[in-house]
Amino acid sequence: MQFALAGNPNSGKTTLFNALTGLRAQTSNYPGTTVEHRLGRFDLDGQTVDLLDLPGFYDLNASSEDERVALDALTNGKPDGVIVVADALNLNRSLFIIGQILEMQLPVVVALNMVDLAEAAGVHVNAGTLASELGCPVVPVVARTGRGLDDLRIVLRQLEVARPTNPCGACDGCRFQNRYAWADGVASRCVQAGDGKPNIWTERLDAWFTHPVFGVASFFAVMLGVFFLIFQIAHIPMALIDGLFSHIGAWISHRMPESDLRNLLVKGVVGGVGGVLVFLPQIGVLFFCLSLLEDTGYLARAAFVMDRLMRRVGLPGKAFVPLLSAHACAVPAIMATRVIEDKRDRLVTILAVPLISCSARIPVYSMLAALLFAHDAWKASLMFTGAYTLGLLAAIGTALLLKRTILQGETRALVLELPSYKQPSLRTATLMMLDRVWVFLRKAGTVILFISILLWVLATYPKSAPPAEAIALRQRATTEQSGALKDQADRLVAHAALANSVAGRAGRWIEPVLRPLGFDWQIGIGILSSFAAREVIVSTLAVVYGVGEEAAERNPESLYDSLRRAERSDGSKVFTTATCASLLVFYVLAMQCLSTQAITRRETNSYKWPLFQLAYMTVLAYTASFLVFQTLRLLGTA
């Protein structure tokens, strides 16, 4: 048995879905579209029933992708019944779609939601009268508290095709006007209106939150709070995950003899799984907060006040949340673009978001700041600010350019319901968080893990014999019982192994391409190995320049020192001001994040857009680094 759940946006549809199905729900894309739908299950007299959560809609006219999906699921999906969620405070609008669904000759039940809020506002809906008007059962419920759900389940057992007493028959003239005339008629016979006073709290809060100045200021304050949570709270589980996985790695290293299998397990598998899981806290915190903000009704206000500012960039107000979240991480930011209704606007946002400086860029910026301005905190801060500004400008520029070229079209005009403020549901927020985390794990996690292992293979094979120098050092280390000498020998072995691997050879192979940017083959290895995750360049450079990964982690200064001393074959320094600046610009603008690509693939449902993303960001990064290096070289800082 399958039931479909339909309703207006803001009718409490999601809350009802969660109340009925709980954790037993799965999110996937509706076949052939990027519209998500959720499929849940619940028991009805021992029988398992599937519940399909349709996208919220105001009309069933197939004018948007959401509406097409809902219409298709109702007409071609042939559900055994439809639960239409109606807002007791706004019955006329709900009747507009109820009327359309009744005409489809499907078994229908109306779940009259939020009757508690309606009663508080003095609005009384006579469910019995409404049921006989519509010719289908009407069950008053409060999805948030679970009131009335048992009655709803009882009704679901014997659902029949609805037989309205006065069918709408809105087929000629203005279909909106006629159908609303019908809805008004039905409502007038079932609803005892309250005093008609609008919600006073909503009025007061809106005076502030939708104000052109205070509203924007409040929005920034709220987002600042969300960031604080992402950085401060997500930081704790992220550190735990990091610690746990390095412990597992150390444990395996300890238990297993040195072998390729051990290395694969430690570096490829454990490292790869850790690299996937470390995203989960940020995704979780962001979506938990966004769900709470949306549930209270605040997010609609934020989109409203930001609309005017964002429109200048050619994006709708709703694009602001992803653009801001991207400063923490592009992956949850791209997942958050789902709130943008227009497909083109959403795509532009997805393509612009990875240019914004995320937290994974911080280790790279820190390294370069140490190389460029070791003893000048002010200049280092200015460099950080410059890098963030460059990323933001590049993102805005990309959005403007895309809107004028391949994704042309006027930004979709704002039509946004501002629902009454209400208490958010922690249950909805928790389920939302788990849902997003699960989607990421299922859809992006596997790809990331696979590529992590592939990159490990490329950096390990073909194997090479340890260099003679290292063998000699090892012998001296054994005779002299010197741990320091042994470490030095290990570093030499690691360096030689990487240099002779496919990745090392590829680094040399692409050196001619990278030379105009001021990079040598060793930086080339760093760029290739950090293709999946940009922060990896720091540990790769540590291996390439013979500092050793662990030593560099314990004491970053040891890495910076040896980078400062590093020389090219002609005896000149590698990390000159020009090279560092060029590398900085490259890492601000280059893709270098497989997780972003994997989630773009999932959110756009195509390989075309992640490939496009990779291509234009690479071209952009290359060109900008080229200009920076060549300009600085002419000025004499190479």
């Binding site: 105001y58 706004n90 609303y180 319901e417």
Partner: protein
């Protein structure tokens, strides 16, 4: 309450905050206007301007809706 002597036809974006009016004509037919009509902003309906500006907030059928100024321009209302 219907007025006995309608004053003028205005564009919805011209009305100041707090004014009430009746929808008389909705120009052109784009997706966003259809959405508004599906939400209940059809001919003959009363609408109130809650916050003038661009975008602006209007109220009809008991709900507040934020809309772009360029949509409001295409909605002609009778204001008194």
């Amino acid at each position: 309450m219907m007025p006995t002597t309608p004053v003028h036809n205005h564009r919805l974006d011209q009305l100041p905050t707090g004014s009430r009016a009746v929808v008389r004509h909705i120009e052109s037919n784009d997706e966003a206007l259809h959405r508004l009509m599906a939400m209940g902003l059809c001919l003959g309906r009363e609408v109130e301007v809650v916050r003038h500006g661009n975008p602006l907030i209007i109220r009809f059928l008991g709900a507040r809706v934020g809309i772009s100024g360029r949509l409001a321009q295409r909605i002609l209302v009778e204001h008194w």
